[in-house]
Structures are given as C-alpha cells and as structure tokens.
Amino acid sequence: MRGGVYSHTGRGTSLRQLLVLGKTLVLRDFRFRYRQAYFGYLWAVARPVVGVLPLILVGNAFQLGGDMEAAEYALFAMSGFLMWQMFWDAVISPQWIARRVRRIFKEVPFSPESLVAAGAGLVVFNALFYGVVFVIACLLTRTVPPPTLPLALIALPFIVLGGLAIGAFFISLTFVYLDFRFGLPLLSPLLLWTAPIIYVTPEDGVLAVVNRWNPLTYLINIPREWLISGLSGNDSLFLVCALAFVALFGVTLRFLQRSLPVAVQSLP
C-alpha cells in the first residue's frame, strides 16, 4: 500500500500557541477585509442582523410563530436565528479562513488545527455582536431572560463545535475543488428551514418528521428555550446531540490532519 510514515516526538504545537495563531489569522483577515471599507468592522455583523429582519416580518405575517404575539415571536425568531447564524458561521469560517491563507500552506509548515482555531475565533468575534443585538432585542420587547440563561451560555460553545465539525471537513476538499466552497452556502437555507429556527414545529406532517430527526432542532432549539423561556422538557436530548457533535469534531479533526497535506499538494 502506498503511504509513508511521519512520526514526531518531543515538543509540538501547544493549544495556547494554536489559539494565538488562530487569533492572529482572524485579525489578519479582518484587517485585510475591513480596512479597505469606510464603515470598517460594522460590515462584519450587518449582513446577519439585517438578514433576520425580513424573516421576522414574513414570519409574523404568515404566523410562523403559531399563537405567539408579535414581540414574542420577534424575540423567538431573532434569538433562534442568531444561534443558527453562530452555527452557520462555524460551518463556513474554517474554509473561509483556509482559502484566504492557502498560499501560506504552500510556503511554510502550518498546523491544520490553527484553521479550526481561527474559524472559532471568527465565530466568537461575530457572536459578540450577536450578543449585543440580542440584548437590544430583549430591551425592546421588555423581556427578562429566565434563570436558565447560564445554561444557554454554556450550550453556545457546543453549537460552535457542531458547526466546526462540519466546516472543518470541507477545508481540504475546498483546497482541491472550489465547488465545495460554492456549494456549501446552498446548504444554508436547507439547514435553516429543516430545523424549527424561525417557526414553531408543526404537530404533524413531513416537516414535523424532518424536525424530529434533525439534530439541529435540539442543538439550537433547546438552548434557545433556555435563553428566552426556561427548561424545554426534553433538555437531555441537547446533551446527546452535543456529545455526538463533539465526537464528530474529533473525527473531522483527524480527517483534516490526514487530508490537508494531500490537498496542499494539489494547490496550483
């Protein structure tokens, strides 16, 4: 069988080093993108924030929130969408960063894990803005977060990890064919609408079945409940989903380490 062996002993790259490198890569990306813009970093959050407004309007008009009041639905949809956006940011940010630094992979040795760290950094940066938007939404709707708020905050890293587990899988593939990069955004509406993010799960029908079997339903919906209303009744399902995504993240990381040198070789 073709394939050599690379083994390493002694000091390697520490987690702290990876995080620092991830932070540096995120800053480089931000500086590159937004220093050319007059409004600078504002653009980083404009798209998701502005994107959710029409959804809320349409959702209200078509009563996607069931018997919820307009303000209640707005908070429901806004919080769900922001959480979903965090998940989606985590899906696309590693391959986003990877595409931007791919030349470096051709020049010097570079740990693949740093891309995941950078992706996570990008998500955290956006999440800070989302947090501000959520607080403003709470103030406008005069909603007081329930006592389960800390649970929701604890759940957020697992949502990010779930996104990274999927996103990191595409890094190597994106290096070889850009189709994966172009195709990945197509998943966005699919993932958004197959989970009850901006609508309430119907009691029956195909969508109800899809919602039930979609892990995102539990990964996002349950923390959203913790964030705006309290315990959901099937909270343990979040734990199951979170553990599954943690395991998937481990597998993806291994896949990334193994596949990236092959992908780098195919870079022009």
Binding site: G4, G10, L21, Q36, E107, P109, A263, Q265, S266, P268
Partner: protein, 616 residues
C-alpha cells in the same frame, strides 16, 4: 566523536514522493485519496511520476547536513516532507523536536497590515511560542531596521525594506532543527549583513538540514553532504569530496543542457545527431568522482567505508591475502577503527584472510572465513601467482578475478546473494598516496585503532622459556658480511642465556641454519601451507621475546604482547613507510615492549639489558 553520540533530530529512511504531471488529473487523485485513502498498491497511476525516491538522511544535534541538487532535483520536496507540509508516499520521516523551514516569501503579507502586525503574524506562523513571541518580534524589527516604523502600514513602505522580513521571522523563532530551503544571497547593506550574521550563528550552532542548488554560501562545518538529481541520491559523502564533485557535475550538466538547447534551436535532436547521447547524471557523477581521485582519495575511502558499514546487508571485509605488514599495520587497525567509529553492526561482518588467522580478527568481526575454506590451498596459490603476474604487483590495489572468485564463494557460503564489500584496495590506494606524499602520514594513525589480538593461536612450541628470532635478508637488511656477522654474534650471545628458536620460512633467504650445531638453538622451518601463519603465530605467541628483521611476519610478535626488538639496516621504499607506521604502533600500544632500531644504532652490549628485562 561528539557528533556520533548526539541526539538524532531527523531520520528519513527511503523517502518516496509521487506527483501527478497533470494539474486536473492530480486534483482527481487528491479527492480520491482524501475521501478513500491512498492507493492500495505501489503502482503509479496515469501521469504520475516519482519526484523523490529512496532518499535517506540523518541529522543529529549540532550537525549540519547539506543536500545539493539542481533545479527540480527534489530538494523542496524533501523540505516539505520533513516539515510535514506533504505526506510521504513511501519510507518514513521521524522528527524529534520542533522543526522549522527557513525560507523567504510573502507569507500571508497584505498591504493593510502594519509592520508590527505582520511581524506578529509571520513569527506566529513560523511557530513562535507565546512566551517568546514578543521577544522574537522585537528581534525581527531590530534586524530588519524597522523598529521605528512598526506602526507603518506595509502599503506605505518601499518594497526593498520588506525584502528579508519573512526570512528573518523564520530565523529568529527558536527551533530544534532548521531546514534551509536554499541559501539566499543577501545584500551587502547593513540589514543584509545582520541577516547573514544571524544565519551564520545558526550554521555555527548546527542542527540544520541545508538544501541548496549551489555550494556557495554553505557553512564550513557541514559534516555530511548528498547530491540529489531527478529525485534520486547520486552521491553521499563528506563535504570535502561532495562539494567538488557537485561543482564538476553542475558545470557538466549545464554544458549538456546548453548543447541540447542549441540543438533544439537549430532544429536537430539528439537522436538525429550522429554523436553519442549525453551521459546520464549518474555517469557524470562517476566521472567527477574519478577526476577527484588524485587529491581526495582519502576522503573517498572514508565515504565508501562509511556507506558500506551503514548498509543493511552483510559486510565482507577482504579478502586480504597480500602483505602481512599491510594487514597488521593498516588493514586490521582500520577495521578496528571502523568498528569504533561507526559502532557495532547488526548485519553480520565477515573478515576473509588467509593462513588460518581467525584470532587476529576475534572481537572485531562476527565471522572469519579463510580463503582455504573457499579454495584448495594449491589452487589459491596458483591463482594468486597469476594475479601477481597479471597486475605486476603483489599488493591488492585493484579487485582482481581471484578476489571476485573468492567473494562469490563467500556469498555462496553465507547463503546470500547480495553482500557489501570493503576490499583492501580501498585502503591500499590511500596507502600508496601516503607513500607518494599526497595524503599526510598521520591519516593512517587517525584511521587506525591499534590493539593486541584478543585471541591466541592453537598450540605452542614449548612450555619452557624461549626466545624466537626471525632474521632474513631483504632490501632493508641486505645480505652482506656485516649483517651476517651481526646476526651470528647476536645468536651466540643470546643462546648462552636462553634457548633460542630460529624461524626459517621457505622462500626467504635466511641466515641461521649453520648455528644450530652444539648450541641451544633450535631451527623451525615453516613450510608454505594453508596453516603457515597460524603455526608461526603459535611459535611466536609462546615466546618470551622476539628479535628479528623488521617487516613481514616479524610484526606479528608485538600484537601477541611478546616483547619485540626489530632491526633494520636502512628503511627504503615502502618499508620506510611501514617503519614509521610501526613506530606509531609502538607509541600507540605503550603496554607492549616494541623496539625498532636501525643497525647503526644497535649495540650488543645494550641488548643484554633489553633481554634481561624481557626475560624478567
């Protein structure tokens, strides 16, 4: 040497790398390999080719190893495999510690970063640990002279100011092993000089793998160098030999490439030309090696024995069957030196010699084979006479048909098809260069480890004390009345004190026969048999002292720790070199009584005291 004991930082064994010649096809293979794993066999797929094959190298702490090769020879592939940028398709890479690639380039530079931001990014990419990152940044800014412009955006700086920035970032980040992909030419400006000084400091410290297309700029303390071409290692040896070989190779290759280009421009091809096709790179290297023979033969010998000793095949040392002087003073100490220098070997080491002298090699090799185990003694003698007649010399300066026949027989006896051989001609060629003054005489002392035999021959002559003498005439002890009278007087005087055994060997004009009558002198005549040296060794090893003419079998005595006194009239020819070498042996074995005296300095009265001490 210190280097041999140092920690191994990098070990590449039989590295292979395959690439696809077509970009589109390569991407298809990449997707397949990523999703379904590497191919299950070693066959090349369509449009694939090897860019590296069978590459092996070891870099130890404190050592600089250079890999020389022209463009597209595989150097950058090696660098990328070692630093894990690419996955090997065969063989193995083992790295102990942090490895860094020293290379220039843009390295994620973008015009909207400030100098400090970019420096932070580049040092982090090169693996600066958080604890030292700030210090690294400051050092980079200091070396590049950009400390005062740290807040300036790159877009606002002149291009020249950024030339060495990423290279310096690579140089300052602490690493256990550095891989230099090229040794870039640096400017003579202050920045260039500071960068060069930083690089030189790394070279001085060692622990570097230097990949370069040119020998210019290589540090002086390179301990090993390899030449790669077309992904294959063409030569591996010491820099003293490899560097001139590479320079010669490059100039020949360029000439060939220029001729090919001219032909292309003229519209003719090599095939259509009546001239012979261009020699292969391997042949060019071989020619370059041959052209070095005159001045670099000692280094070539060291290279070849180092390679042979490190091979994974059984190693045959010999066959050695010419001069006993050479075997005792050079060959056997050389084997002992190899063992000491390169360490014990797992695959077997076999010494091949003649005269049933297995105990001469005891402790040095795993097996001894006598030529008479391989050929009948009479046939060996006949073939050896033919060899001497054909070559015009008794010395084994080339591998003769007899050598080949014996080596084939060794292979058959060991039951193996492939063996590695270190033939005495390797050492003979150096020895002859020493004699001609091309190589310093100290070389043999530096490449010889002198020690007594670890074993003893079978059977001794007598349990009572006796002294052995071995006098025979030769160019260094001519047959004249003065020398005859000297030997007579010495034997008479000696026999009054102790029984004397006079050794006579067939074919040597000897001096003592008539003295035996009525005195305590016994004559032992050794016949030319397959056990001749073993029997002689038995006589000498049991003696209380040995006195005789310098040279040949007389030199056996000190290696049995028998007090030895050898006389020589006036050393001439090669014997003069043997004589000075024997003096070195005497000095190197202080526990052994081994005296060498010229006839003009020899006084029988003084000899009385010597024999007193020997017998006491």
């Amino acid at each position: 040497m210190a280097v041999a004991a140092a920690k191994t930082l990098l070990e590449c064994t039989d590295l292979e790398k395959v690439v696809c010649g077509s970009f589109n096809q390569g991407r298809k293979y990449a997707i397949r390999d990523i999703l379904f794993g590497a191919p299950r066999d070693n066959r090349l797929r369509r449009e694939e080719r090897f860019v590296l094959r069978g590459f092996s190298v070891i870099v130890r702490a404190g050592e600089n190893v250079a890999v020389l090769g022209m463009a597209d020879s595989g150097k950058t592939t090696i660098a990328k495999l070692v630093t894990r940028m690419l996955r090997p398709d065969g063989g193995s890479v083992h790295v102990d510690g942090r490895v860094g690639l020293i290379v220039g380039g843009k390295l994620g530079m973008n015009p909207f970063l400030t100098v400090e931001e970019y420096t932070e990014l580049a040092t982090n990419i090169h693996g600066a640990e958080p604890d030292v990152a700030a210090a690294c940044r400051e050092e980079v800014l200091g070396i590049t002279g950009l400390a005062t412009q740290r807040a300036t955006r790159i877009v606002d700086l002149p291009k020249g100011a950024l030339r060495n920035l990423s290279l310096v970032c690579a140089l300052v980040v602490p690493k256990d092993l550095r891989v230099f992909d090229g040794v870039p030419v640096l400017g003579k400006d202050p920045v260039g000089e500071r960068v060069a000084a930083r690089r030189l400091a790394h070279f001085d410290r060692g622990s570097n793998l230097i990949l370069s297309s040119t020998t210019a700029g290589l540090p002086s303390n390179v301990s090993r160098a390899l030449i790669v071409h077309g992904g294959e290692t063409l030569y591996d040896g010491r820099p003293e030999t490899v560097i001139p070989i590479y320079d010669s190779f490059v100039s020949r290759m360029r000439r060939i490439q220029k001729v090919a280009l001219d032909r292309q421009e003229r519209g003719t091809t090599v095939e259509s030309d009546a001239e012979a096709p261009a020699p292969s790179p391997a042949i060019l290297i071989e020619r370059a090696v041959r052209s070095l023979d005159r001045s670099q033969i000692a280094h070539l010998a060291e290279d070849s024995v180092a390679q042979a000793w490190r091979s994974n095949q059984p190693l045959v040392l010999g066959p050695c069957f010419s001069d006993v002087d050479f075997e005792l003073l050079c060959w056997r100490p050389f084997i002992a030196w190899m063992r000491q220098r390169f360490g014990p070997r797992t695959p077997q080491v076999v010494a091949v010699s003649r005269g049933r002298v297995s105990h001469w090699y005891a402790g040095l090799v795993s097996e001894y084979i006598d030529v008479c185990d391989l050929l009948p003694f009479e046939r060996f003698q006949t073939l050896n006479q033919e060899r001497i007649r054909d070559s015009g010399s008794k010395k084994q300066t080339v591998i003769s048909n007899l050598d080949r026949e014996l080596l084939d027989a060794v292979g058959r006896r060991l039951g193996i098809a492939e063996t590695t051989v270190i033939h005495p001609s390797v050492l003979y060629r150096v020895f002859l260069k020493i004699w001609r003054g091309v190589v310093p005489t100290t070389w043999l002392g530096e490449h010889g480890h002198y020690e007594c035999f670890q074993g003893l021959p079978d059977g001794r002559l007598s349990a009572d004390p006796y002294v052995v003498t071995g006098f025979w005439f030769n160019a260094n002890f001519p047959d004249n009345s003065r020398n005859r009278s000297f030997v007579n007087d010495l034997l008479v005087q000696l026999s009054r004190r102790v029984p004397v055994v006079v050794v006579e060997r067939v074919g040597f004009p000897h001096v003592a026969g008539s003295l035996a009558d009525g005195r305590r002198i016994r004559v032992v005549s050794l016949k030319q048999t397959e056990r001749e040296f073993s029997e002689l060794a038995g006589v000498i090893a049991g003696a209380r002292a040995f006195i005789g003419t310098f040279g040949g079998t007389s030199l056996i005595a000190p290696f049995y720790n028998v007090p030895t006194s050898l006389v020589i009239d006036e050393p001439v020819g090669l014997r003069a070199l043997h004589f000075s070498l024997a003096k070195e042996v005497a000095a190197a074995m202080p526990n052994v009584r081994f005296d060498l005296t010229k006839m003009k300095n020899f006084h029988l009265a003084q000899f009385d005291a010597w024999i007193d001490q020997a017998l006491s």
